[in-house]
Amino acid sequence: MEIETSRFGVLSVDDERIMNFPKGLLGFPGQTKFALIKTGQNNYFFWLQSIDDPHLAFVVTDPSTFFKDYDVALRDETVADLELVNPAAMQVFVICNKVGDWLTGNLLGPIVVNTASRLAQQVVLTEKKWTTRQPLLRLQADVPLAKSA
C-alpha cells in the first residue's frame, strides 16, 4: 500500500511491513498501524512510520545489538494479546531518541512484535536495570566529514 509521510514523501510499503498496535503507543493511543521502514543509513536502525499520521515516525532498533544481556520477559497477558504461539516469532525493538550528541534507546518501554501475526505492543518493564534513555551510540558532529578522511 502507499502511505504518506512528512519525512520521506509517499512510500510504497509491503503489507508484510505493516504492524498493528491495538493499544497504540503510550502517549499516542489512537495510532494503531505503523510501517517498518529502512533508514538507508545502515541495517541497525529503522523508522516506525504511522500509517494514519504522516508526521508521526520513530527511529527504532533491535536492542540486543547493543546490550547482549537485555531480555524482555513477557507477561502471560501480553503473550495472549500478541497471539504469540511461537516464541521464536517474537522480535523486540526500542524507540530511539537524540539526547545531546547521543542516540539513546528506551529500554524501559520496549516494543514487542509477533512477526507471524504482525501484532505489536509497547510493554513496560518492571526491572529497574534499564532506563528510557539508555545511551546507544555517540553521534558524530553535524559537520560533514572531510572526503579525504
Binding site: 519525512r7 520521506f8 503507543l25 503510550l26 502517549g27 499516542f28 533508514t39 543509513q41 545502515n42 541497525y44 536502525f45 508521526l56 515516525a57 520513530f58 527511529v59 545489538t65 547493543f66 546490550f67 547482549k68 544481556d69 507477561r75 502471560d76 497477558e77 524507540i95 530511539c96 531518541n97 537524540k98 550528541d101 542516540l103 528506551n106 524501559l108 518501554g109 509497547q122 513496560v124 518492571t126 528510557t132 534513555r133 545511551p135 546507544l136 551510540l137 555517540r138 553521534l139 558524530q140 558532529a141 553535524d142 566529514l145
Partner: protein, 84 residues
Amino acid sequence: MLVLSRQRDETIMIGDDIEVTVVDIRGDKVRLGINAPKEISVHRKEVYDAIRRENKAAAQVKPEDLSGLGKIGSKNPENQPKQP
C-alpha cells in the same frame, strides 16, 4: 477522586479481586501491598509517565539527526555499538 482514610494494615477493595493494603507508614512514605489477578499490571505511575514523555520526545527525531551515525563498524571507535 474518591478519597478514603485508612490506617496501617487496613485494606481497600477495588472490584472483587484487587486488594490494596497499607503495609507501613513512615513519615511521608506509605508502603502499599497490592494483591491483584496476574492479568492486571501494576506499575508506579512515574514509569508510565516517563515512557509516555520519552515517546513524545522521540517523535521529534528527524532523518538528519541520524546523519551523524556514519557507518557503524567504521574506523571511528566512538561509533561502535556500546558494549555492556
